[in-house]
Symmetry: C2
Subunit: 616 residues, 2 copies
Amino acid sequence: MTDYTVDFEPIGRRGTCRDNQSILDCSEQLGIGISSICGGHGTCHSCKIRVLSGTVSKPTTSEREVFTSQELKSGWRLACQTYPGSDCKLNVPPQSMTATQRTQVEGLEIPVQPEPPVWAYRLEIPIPTLSHTQADADRLLELVNRQHRLHCERVDIDVLRKLSSQLRDLNWQCQASVRQNEIVAVGPWPSLQLGLSIDLGTTKIAGYLVDLNNGRTLASKGIMNPQISYGEDIISRITSVLIDSQKGAQLKEVAVEAINQLASALCGEVGANIEQIVETVVVGNTAMHHLLLGLPVRQLALSPYVPAVSMALDLKARDLGLHIAPGAYIHLLPNIAGFVGADHVAVLLATQEKHEKGTVLVIDIGTNTEVSLINKGRITSVSCASGPAFEGFQIKHGMRASSGAIEHIRITGSEIQYQTIDKAPPVGICGSGILDALAQLYLAGILDDSGRFVGSDPHVSTRDGQREFILVKEKTGNGYPDIVITQKDVRALQLAKAAIRSGIQILLEANGCSEADINRIIIAGAFGTYIDVSSAIAIGMLPALPLDRFDQVGNAAGTGARLALISLSKRNQARDMASRVSYIELATASNFRQTFLQAGYLGRYRLKNGKREKDD
Amino acid sequence: MTDYTVDFEPIGRRGTCRDNQSILDCSEQLGIGISSICGGHGTCHSCKIRVLSGTVSKPTTSEREVFTSQELKSGWRLACQTYPGSDCKLNVPPQSMTATQRTQVEGLEIPVQPEPPVWAYRLEIPIPTLSHTQADADRLLELVNRQHRLHCERVDIDVLRKLSSQLRDLNWQCQASVRQNEIVAVGPWPSLQLGLSIDLGTTKIAGYLVDLNNGRTLASKGIMNPQISYGEDIISRITSVLIDSQKGAQLKEVAVEAINQLASALCGEVGANIEQIVETVVVGNTAMHHLLLGLPVRQLALSPYVPAVSMALDLKARDLGLHIAPGAYIHLLPNIAGFVGADHVAVLLATQEKHEKGTVLVIDIGTNTEVSLINKGRITSVSCASGPAFEGFQIKHGMRASSGAIEHIRITGSEIQYQTIDKAPPVGICGSGILDALAQLYLAGILDDSGRFVGSDPHVSTRDGQREFILVKEKTGNGYPDIVITQKDVRALQLAKAAIRSGIQILLEANGCSEADINRIIIAGAFGTYIDVSSAIAIGMLPALPLDRFDQVGNAAGTGARLALISLSKRNQARDMASRVSYIELATASNFRQTFLQAGYLGRYRLKNGKREKDD
């Protein structure tokens, strides 16, 4: 027996593995939660990993069933079937991790040279006397310009309001935070220069507290978006504003309040004060962006669906009601269109280095799914109204990814295997589970390619005149009723996945490309990160391409927001990218209706000019 | 008999005058209120005018008594003694006008090439369609830049909040108000671009509504400063803030509210909306400036008396609470020192063309009197704590210049002549009357040069152990008690005028000049405008220089504010001037104490090195 050192990335855990121990066993020993439904028998296929370097055992029969030879060549394996043959380095993709582990997977960690919008300068200010009665602010400005060779011209009015007492309290020794030609904060030297980046999602708000001097993330935290009580998706929130214009102000207020609280909580974690945050970047879809800024949304909801503003904005944080440093700004990345917002620009920014070779598709799956095709330096984008089905809404037993949610499902013959979050008794099905369910029902022949329940599977029954598949029987004894997938659920999921697949197809056709031309499909966003790509292919939501062309990058919008927070060059790149995007309104594409109809079918297939061709 | 046309300036009234009619008679016929106490007998000397062009009758004996031959040569005359000999043009200085007329005398009307900070551009915007879904604001910005060759980069957030519905309501035809690189307002085309300039005085707030396109003043109005209820002078207001910091917010609020109301009233006069005001300039002394902006004042009140900020400021009007155009700015001229504020900079700006020749003294008399000496391009300033005596405070029967206030006084032998505002029964004495009283009492030998009541004038009596001069006996029958000037009043006035005279002297000495070197004394401000300069010389408040070296320019602070509103070049000149000023703190001047003591004496004299020399 030999011991090898195994590196698990991107978690950064390293441990010892014996040559007679599978990678799955090793990960369990190290406390790394790799998903496994079948208990290591190679049948559930949920423990996919990728070998980055080192030698491992030869692929088993069950692995040859899951992966193409191309995929095996590029390192894809099942952790339960693989044994180390040397020290090795492995990548555990987010979809292969248990939910508890997933929350730690923030997204891409892209190293970037800090080039922050705000710099702090130390100052020792000569004390005024009767013969040197220069005003406090003028004295400060003159000194910072002279000592640090700057060209500051202004001191923010809220900084001015505190400055005189601050300088005297600090005994004329302080640091000044400078943004372009303006002093936006003054405080004791040395103190942290904090930045806050916010990914303002329809459902969740993610916040990252960053040290602007070195670009390091000091704390991160996600909270629910309290706007949910005004409507679970953006269309219902917009509608509530159109019906009652006061709702607009309320939606703005609750979002701002949530960000203030998130900022306080993040600062609390590192022992900092919220007023040390000297810059904020917020990304969100166009509707979230508009609601946060108190911008009108009526024109977003009505054809031709134009944003009030798309350009990048630099606003005083106080003009929004954020209680960070007195003179601090909030930067908003540009929007692309009414339903392709700054969050998608952030995704493009975060994945920019992956765009360089060939034809690349970037997908951010959500209630609204934004898709961009990068082809020969040209970026084309569409927005697909995929709806909230994949987030568990409109699905009979759908739920969010929390304790007790079924997150992975395998159907083998008459046996149904599933895994729940926290291994708790099952209470419902979350997004990745719903996708798995649809794929497994189709692969098991319980659903035909039109999505109809067929055959006589013992788990299928009829209730209230509707067919349904019983995933969990009530007798499991947790007191909850059966957990089922109904015909109506299947229809909702078909509409959702048809929207995505047809959006991809319209993009390809507008660029004169076919699916096979795609070199890489980058999947961003919480849901997209945790789905089993094989399932997405099996139901025809994504093109049937080799698995190694897929790249699940996690919360890339959050990553993009952090890049824009840390680096002015990144902001410029985002602005540049957004300005180069050609947006296609799906409703205007000639083939759209027919493509959409075909894209509703289940199974692996190719689409071409509104027709479906069987995949070989 | 011949008829001539007579022009009265700066009122701009023109009328016909017969050659046997005095200018005073002619003015009465035209309804121009020229001051006259003696009824046209040449004895009260209050109807001083200046002939600018044309031929008039030869000076009479009484005119030779009032004016030096130099003054007569430069056109000074008494209106009651002068008859036209041709068409002629006359200047009626403010001090020669009755109070009712005075309120119309705004200050210098300086023609200036409009070079406003905000320009309006007409736009016809292409309507968005499904194939052209550019955002509203981006569309607006692109068009204004392309059509008008601008480099706008931003649209104010409050403009953005209204833009989408505005563009649709206006059917995509509008005007955009552009300030530097920012759109600060959008409205229907064509609409007025209004500017508001505010002279924020300790006692009074004067507002001017200006058409920014041509620089014309459309309306003007003065209101009382409601901060008066927190203290009549700035020191008492600052003290109230030091005692109770909440008072600062209240003082800010009442001033802002007053400006909002003034702006509404001015707009009402011209049928405009307050949101059409796209730029505001405010000038005030340093304390008023700080209280308006909510800046701290503690350091103003304590040695070394430094402002929180002196540099010129451009702030969003909303950051102060002004309800003008959504994105409009307020510009504040720079301050010079703790007690030489932006209002004095405005005076320097308004009188700039008068500085060019020789040595010029600019005085703005008020509770605080600012004095600048311009000598060989160098500007030196001091602040004199003259107190509110000349505004009627701390004077037994002092009052503001309103109906029934005695505004001019002459004592001839035992006869006391006076004139009240609106010719109403006398109720008290206003500033110009108080100054006259002191001068007349001294010239009549009732006060000696130390300010003590001497001799046995029948109008002098003793009440409560204090000597007093009875100006009006109770028997005049208006129900009010006697109106008197007490020994205490005289002492208060001596302190006030000593502060001004010694300030002037310290300035001269710091520049190596003597009084005789002064080519021109410019007197600005409400009080300074209406005083009889001869009286000010008689009591030793101003140096005994020939009358034609004095130039009473009215509300020059208001004029300066309007210039800065209309013209960016003027703003730059103001900034430049303020930066060139050397401020002298009087307390640090070596001769100050002794000079101040000597400057308290009444009479015409010269000061030199803290000594008093009789004037020849």
